[in-house]
Symmetry: C2
Subunit: 437 residues, 2 copies
Amino acid sequence: MKDKVTPKILPGFMELLPEDQICFNRMYQTIRSVYERFGYLPQDTPVIEYSDVLLAKAGGETEKQIYRFQKGDNDLALRFDLTVPLARYVAQHYNDLVFPFKRYQMNKVFRGERPQKGRFREFYQCDIDVIGVESLELVFDAEMPAVIYQVFKELDFGSFTIRINNRKVLNGFFSELGFADRIADILRTIDKLEKIGEQSVAKELAEFGVSSEAAKRILDFIAYKGTNDEMLAMLDAQNVADETYREGVRELTQVIGYLRRFGVEEAAFLIDLTIARGLDYYTGTVYETMLNDYPSMGSVCSGGRYDNLTEYYTDQKLPGIGISIGLSRLFYQLKENGLLTGAPKSLTKCLVIPMNESLMDTALEAAALLRAEGINTDVYYQNKGMKQKMKYANRLAIPYVVIIGEDEKAAGTATVKDMESGEQRTIALDKLSEYVK
Amino acid sequence: MKDKVTPKILPGFMELLPEDQICFNRMYQTIRSVYERFGYLPQDTPVIEYSDVLLAKAGGETEKQIYRFQKGDNDLALRFDLTVPLARYVAQHYNDLVFPFKRYQMNKVFRGERPQKGRFREFYQCDIDVIGVESLELVFDAEMPAVIYQVFKELDFGSFTIRINNRKVLNGFFSELGFADRIADILRTIDKLEKIGEQSVAKELAEFGVSSEAAKRILDFIAYKGTNDEMLAMLDAQNVADETYREGVRELTQVIGYLRRFGVEEAAFLIDLTIARGLDYYTGTVYETMLNDYPSMGSVCSGGRYDNLTEYYTDQKLPGIGISIGLSRLFYQLKENGLLTGAPKSLTKCLVIPMNESLMDTALEAAALLRAEGINTDVYYQNKGMKQKMKYANRLAIPYVVIIGEDEKAAGTATVKDMESGEQRTIALDKLSEYVK
């Protein structure tokens, strides 16, 4: 006999007990159901791909974090996001897809970063993207927050705000001030505003040759707050001639208009000029989503528009727009904040308990009746005392216990106990499913 | 600009176009829903684990196939099945689990074997297992085929047979013939019966010192065919005193009795003594499942009882029983055999089409009404001709097109086209969802 191996998993990997897994899966299912309700198609790409394909674009930090290894002659890597596989998929299957191509993928991705509280090396991302050929209608820029709105409404973790901005507004504004050649640096800096504060941002901007006067204009501009209509009026009234800026304002105005037609509550979305999304990837509308009572969680759903998804694979110009929910992280944060306690803890509705072994046949038949009506039903088979049997139901949070005794068998009934109220009733077997429904 | 990278995936990896993915997901969802209907709890273990944990038992072939690599100081591996992670999970979380522990896991596993037609390196397994402490009731041996029955009934790919055997019957029979020390060899040999035929099996048995007379007795014994009751009567009538044999017959008799109480049709299960399941892992009831019209597919769902799940991790004795469906392989085979053509090809029920851009607002409102009723709805935003718009619906197999024109807008209606029948009707917007439901 070999020595025993200690059963453990790697740090930074999430593994849940059944009760939490049920809750996690319910969130997963809610998100998927909304994605499908808006017409997104399912996608499931391989976990393992060729390194040169996955890393066609990457560099720097991403490359360091990746799980990469050799198998036979092949240099392989595990996907580190769902956007690169999407780009590869669209380029590879271009002739077989219908455009605009709307897809969701909700799968694990892998990043070997140093594990920290709430950061995982293996985690679920839940993404939707729409990819167009050559161009993509602006109304999709409103569809994204409409989907976010529906998802967080159905997840039901309190009020939230979808913050919306448009990179063209920022880019145009910075160009107008004479910083067209430093836009990426400025964006990356103001993206840190919430973290490091105005003073540090101004200091960092100075390093890029932004005068303190210009820094003040930038900071005043992005700090502007108001209702969506006030924000649009303010943007329009700015003495900025830059054509990119003007286009950004027009886009933002139209997106807000569409959003209202999608039936999204006004309180749920807000133009916020501080949303820069550091990545140089984005080119138009950008989003972040905050739970209003838990600002420390940061953005729970982000995304935006990009001009060219597949540039590393084809010459075809394929613009797109997408959003992503980091579900593992979101789940962890919600649990830490005690927000998951209200959800039902069982998928199973009934536990059938035969009083003794000779009643097993009747118990199996009762369970079959319930299952035939689509009711998730477990049966307690162990020859243990009633206390043990009830404890099983209790620990698994099963809401109804269906007891089959000799009397019940003779009468064709069962005693049904509602585990929450404690109420017991005798019900005919053929009425059981109706009762527990 | 870097050179373009060719977008491609590794050989032996499955990636589906949306239409097939919808079909795959529907099968996945059917299996999961049955697993949950029988009270199984969801489980989702990490893809990456410590190599020494995953390989605690393995050796030989498994070890060669595994994706194993170094990251930092850690020797890591990708899971190659869902049973080893289950064993690790149960040993690790023993104190937090409720026993008998019933769980399902339906996830990808990874095996770097030489890719062949219909064999994948990354594929879905859909497993259920029940784990007991010290012992596990025999009625679970009937629950497994009851679950298999329900799964394949709902998957609806024609008639199927769950073949049932009990290793104790075979082991006891071989012991009675004096081969107690060669049971594993004999089992592995007769497991090849369908592949290599009686003569080759007899020849191979001779290599293990089984006389031609004994080989004939073995082959005659396992070849016996009859109804389940005839098989049980035959087994009982055998002049075999071996206690393991007798226990096996008693178990088989009881399992068949329970199965009938589960409401499983008699035609769907059959005692078949040729089912040996080569693995030395199994110790009692074993199963294989065949699609009656497609015997060449081999077993589409197999499993059985084992004595000690966690022996490499703890001293605790934890017997269990489980089954597994290799979903990726099953999907591939069904598709190859043209059995997937009947399934609906769209998750989206309606496509809303505004006749021109000025009707977009009304289209968005119509879509919101449909979605509010839980109807998966897409909207065509592109400013293209009607033919292009209808082509989009056609290619995505969306069953209803909801057309919003100027007249419809004025009247608060829409023209709904049933894409299969071609029928068109004008419907009030607030009656739309009712109509397409």
